[in-house]
Amino acid sequence: MSLSVWLGALEQGLLWGAMVLGVYITFRVLNYPDLTIDGTFTLGAAVAARMILAGYDPGVVLVMALLGGAAAGLVTGLLHTQLKVAPLLSGILTMIGLYSINLRIMGQANLSLLREDTIFTWAKGLTAVEPFGPALLGLLLILLVLVLLYLFLQTELGMALRATGDNEQMVKSLGTNTGTMKLVGLAIGNGLVAFSGALVGQYQGFADVGMGIGMIVAGLASIIIGEALVGTATLMRAMLAAVVGSIIYRAVISLVLQLGLPPTDLKLLTSLIVVVALALPLARERLGLRSQRLRSEQGARVEERYQDF
């Protein structure tokens, strides 16, 4: 295993981290099974590639991708709140529509960014030791996202958002409009996913219309792995878990590639990893490594947490 492989896994884990945080916001905080994400990720990459080729600044492009993703999230939210479409279906509808929109944005199924100035061209000059630039940039960006998101979730609006996910009935009875909360949550979640797509597109040097396929699975797998390792005791820990999980997930894929396993087995391995991660807290509990009080609390939380999967 060479350094560059691990570095690559770290870089990708960090860049995909924003996507995992987006999934965390919709699935975990808002308790909304949002499938828009597969389309939004590609949307971010498509916007980034098209704009970079048109000569826009790579940094501006990231913001535009974020806004585009947020708009897509709003569409899903409006389908659900205004037309009373079920959460799963609302996401699927937007995702399918996005496929055509992404093709329109790109003008073709695939756009190459080879030898174009991307944000990573700039990042290479960040560190004295050249190869660490992209990882450092990824780290800085993910920290920025983490801090902003953390601060937002502490505000009154953020609190209402979290409460909506925890107990919608109660929030309604307190006179807060839960529909608005869902719109906000979906916009933020999908904005983050598109932001991540814009980064990944620039990192790998191309945008492809099929890029987003399987994003939800990768996102959920990352979250579950992270939660098993980092825990969810506090909000900050739960958010860190998403990012750590993202890095571990990519590292495992790198390891599998290094071992020379066919990628057809990769998917099976992914599901096994998630199963193991799911089983960890329960196994710990069975082995009686924790005090009685913690155990029952943990067990209850684990059950509550995974009943929606």
Binding site: S4, V5, A109, S112, V200, Q204, G260
Partner: protein, 335 residues
């Protein structure tokens, strides 16, 4: 009911009028063949995705048709449909072409050819950019298809390509091959590469992927384990070639390609198929079909002359010197 009947009568009248119009109005553009009416040939082109090589094949085909006297807008009606990489869209296109009863179909790449052959057993299908028509069950044998399918194969001269790799990167012992394990074409090419590698003193290190998103990571996994990378004519990897080149250039691992369009995109070199020429050759076969030859009896053709393409700019990026004798031999040097 009455209304509907009169509508049918009206339509029948209209139809007979248009047919009569066609019959009488075609006086001034008679075909050169003894006095027969100039019939418009309805050609359907089915393509799995946009892709430089496949697009070049399509252009070459239409160019050969034009040279043979079939021009779009005059006596050729081209219905070009591209599935944007989506298999179910591809099925729909194939079904539509079969229902439209096109006179002739050009199917570009294996997936399109298989989808099309599934939908019709009587419309002549010309295939191009299909690596192994026998394995894909499109034809019974290369010499005698025995089905409504004929055309050209782009089976790579993989042995020659590995020889070229050895010539450009003499120090190479381990060669990484990035390919999509779910593309039949690529599996065949990797099997051949493994067979040929031994004689040249090379070992093949496989880096399979299942989608474009995995390509960068697969390339990274080869760093430090190989001295050169070979990219076969794989739709997925060629779509993500920028990702491969980015990683390979950073680590100075030369990338050799299975076809010239990938070299134009930044790979070091190739010897082999020129898709434009291959499309032209397919177009010439189409002309023979239009003259009345049966696809059943027309052997699948390979490209007649292989061309060497070298990318000088890429050589610089990979830190490779191109031998003078190779420079002299090359058909095209991209500066």
């Amino acid at each position: 009911m009455k209304k509907r009947f009169s509508l049918v009568v009206f339509l029948v009248l209209l139809l007979s009028l248009t047919l009569a119009g066609c019959g009488s109005g075609g006086d001034d553009n008679r075909a050169s063949e003894q006095g027969s009416e100039e019939k418009v040939v309805r050609l359907g082109i089915i393509q799995i995705r946009e892709h430089p090589a496949l697009d070049a094949a399509r252009r070459g085909f239409l160019e050969a048709m034009k040279a043979g006297g079939y021009e779009e807008g005059r006596n050729l009606e081209v219905d070009f449909q591209n599935a944007q990489g989506d298999q179910s869209t591809l099925q729909n296109i194939a079904r539509k072409f079969a229902q439209d009863k096109k006179d002739l179909i050009l199917a570009i790449a294996t997936d399109s050819a298989m989808a099309m052959a599934n939908e019709t057993q009587d419309i002549p299908i010309l295939i191009t950019a299909v690596t192994d028509p026998v394995a894909a069950k499109l034809v019974k044998s290369l010499d005698k298809p025995g089905t409504n399918v004929t055309g050209t194969t782009d089976m790579n001269p993989i042995k020659e390509q590995l020889e070229l790799l050895k010539q450009l990167v003499p120090a190479a012992e381990r060669v990484g091959v990035i390919y999509n394990s779910s593309e039949v074409n690529s599996q065949v090419q990797v099997a051949i590469a493994k067979e040929e590698a031994g004689a040249l003193g090379l070992t093949i290190v496989e880096a399979p992927v299942t989608s474009t998103t995995e390509v960068v990571q697969a390339t990274q996994s080869l760093v430090g384990r190989v001295e050169a990378i070979y990219v076969p004519t794989d739709n997925t990897v060629v779509s993500a070639i920028s990702g491969v080149l980015q990683v390979a250039e950073e680590h100075k691992i030369p990338v050799l390609a299975g076809e010239s369009n990938t070299v134009e995109a930044g790979a070091l070199a190739t010897i082999g198929i020129d898709y434009y020429k291959l499309g032209q050759q397919t177009g010439e076969m189409a002309l023979r079909v239009l003259k009345g030859e049966k696809p059943q009896d027309m052997p699948i053709e390979r490209q007649r002359d292989l061309s060497i393409v070298v990318n000088a700019k890429a050589a610089e990026a990979f830190g490779v010197t191109i031998p003078e004798d190779l420079k002299a031999k090359a058909d095209k040097i991209i500066e």
